[in-house]
Amino acid sequence: MSAAAETALLRAPWWLKRHETLLAIILAVALVGLGAFNDRFLTLDNLLNQGRLMTEIGLIALPMTFVIITGGIDLSVGAIVGLSAVMLGYAWKTFAFPLPLAIVFALFVGGLAGFVNGFVITRVKVPPLIMTIATLALYRGLAEGVSQAHSVRGYPEAFYVLGQGDVLGAPTQLLILIVLIVVAGVALDRTTFGRALYAIGSNETAARFSALAVDRAKLVVYTLSGLASGLAAVVLVSRVTTTRMDMGMGYELDVIAAVVLGGTSIFGGAGTIWGTVIGLVMIQLLKNGLALTGVKGDATIVVIGAALIVSVLIASSLQRRRE
């Protein structure tokens, strides 16, 4: 970066120096660039369709932002997606629950799985990394055991509205995601609960001495993480019309990539929902845009990896400049 550009950056208003703004600018440039290469990329149809495909990851990325802001991590989300999906199929087929009740049951199982994570992490003081690696294996194993590796198929047509249908011209699940983005953003920015998460992530001991309910806040964020994974499972089952025990495998990495790309510090204490949303959109549209431009799948992953590294470099250099 030249000296002139550097002083320009220093004089720029504060909001321009934020990681999210910078990321949004990079995103816009990338979109226009890819759009110039391919006339099928920047069409409303394609963008809405990409919105549909990224919803499951997006739903989980919201509470994952909370979890990472508190200085924790949840690696079991992909396994919870698998477990909730299996439970949805199991409740509907084997217990013969009506479908709405089966959906509630799947959400409950997701929430419970998250609650167990939070409970052991706060009460037994097991580090989140270790606890959620353990439950990653445990929940996936349960999903396989309960389902006996059999798929459940043949859900009623009406259920597919959620994963394949449109409401007001937009994919149903995308609308759900947008509502939840607003709710999560407001909760993090404008409520005492949100402030408490930052306080815990910055300095947990100080937060405890400030009489913040640290354990309760953590319990809530891990439960939310499980609940969102359960919701993602329901959306995914509706989108692909079948239940499989290997659903959601590897989701944890996609989710964490979106959150971290969005500027949330892996050490806790910093991050925003808006950043996560930009990170999420960026990964999805980069993958899509590159594929449409004729770049093959394996090369696309390389580009995504490079984008992650560059963005983290930019973020940390900005951080140093501020300090």
């Binding site: 394609n46 369709n49 055991g145 499989r244 004729g294 394996d298």
Partner: protein
Amino acid sequence: MKARYLLTTAAAACALTAFATDANAAGKWDGGDDLATSPLECGTGAAAPGAPMKYDGGQPTHAPNKAGKAITVVDVPKLIGIGYFNATSKGIQDAAKEIGNVKAKTDGPTEAKIDEQIKFIDNSITSGVDGILFAANDPVAIAPVLKKALSKGIHVVGYDANATPGAREWFVNQSPFNGIAKAMVDAMAKETGEDGSFAIVTSTFTTPNQARWIAEMQAYAAKCHPKLQWLETVEAQEDNNLSFNQATTLINKYGDKLKGLFGMTSVATPASAEAVTKAGQCGKVAVVGLATPNAMKPYVHSGCVKSVVLWNPIDLGYAATYVMRAAVDGKLEPGDTSVEAGKLGKLNVINGSEILLGAPFIYDKANIDTFDF
């Protein structure tokens, strides 16, 4: 206090796992599916031809008429970067070159994941190809995106692993499931004796082809080799190391009781043969399985493996491309009973909307060196 919480959690986990294991239905080989089976006749008798079925595929809506014109085709296999799908991809390229007016590209996920595969197909639809060739990771999960392709006037032909019939026009069937099952079980019974006991190394219990084969193998064994004894099925993904470790574990666990191993994937079979070789059990533990010839040559030559069952994957990709071209040209329409496929000659239509490549091929010491893939 802390210990109590830990204990409670551990106990709960154990209880849940035990509950899950109890649900295991007795009498069925693990890793098989629940669909109806149709075991072939015992012995060497020819298979009775199935009753003709009405066409049950799906048709593209308002497909542009590209008969005789250049078309772009994208091939989305289960995953890329393994020998088997490299071979199908080669067959596709061979056929494309031979036909002349077909431009084909293979682009798929690096892991056999259904949602990744769906995204690849979705992107191909948006980028506006004329045809999609696929090998499904899940027959039902892939259906919505394939139906979307059909609704946009794109021709859809499957090979290797099928989707629900209404979601594609044609499916090139490498070999009927019951044919493979018969070849595998007959070979095992011949090598271990009629009362041998064996274990199975598969990819995962949900992988559709493997699950179908295992179910058909059980049905055929029950009918024709009732004294063969199944010990266990283990999952090894399509992972070389894991397959080797799982096979070694089976050898150590069952000792002299284990007389044979079935490898259900092109990865599991050579890995099982390697495990048997390393354990010094050649001749005592038979390995029968699906695999590509190149990977099996060392074991076949050393005498550790007597027979390898497979079709020719290059021919499979080749046939799929010819079927695609014929479908676009209107030379293969619902109700037709055969299709011309270049050097393979005339292939027959079976089960309504499937094109049969042929009977499974058995590679042995005498012929394995004539194949290179």
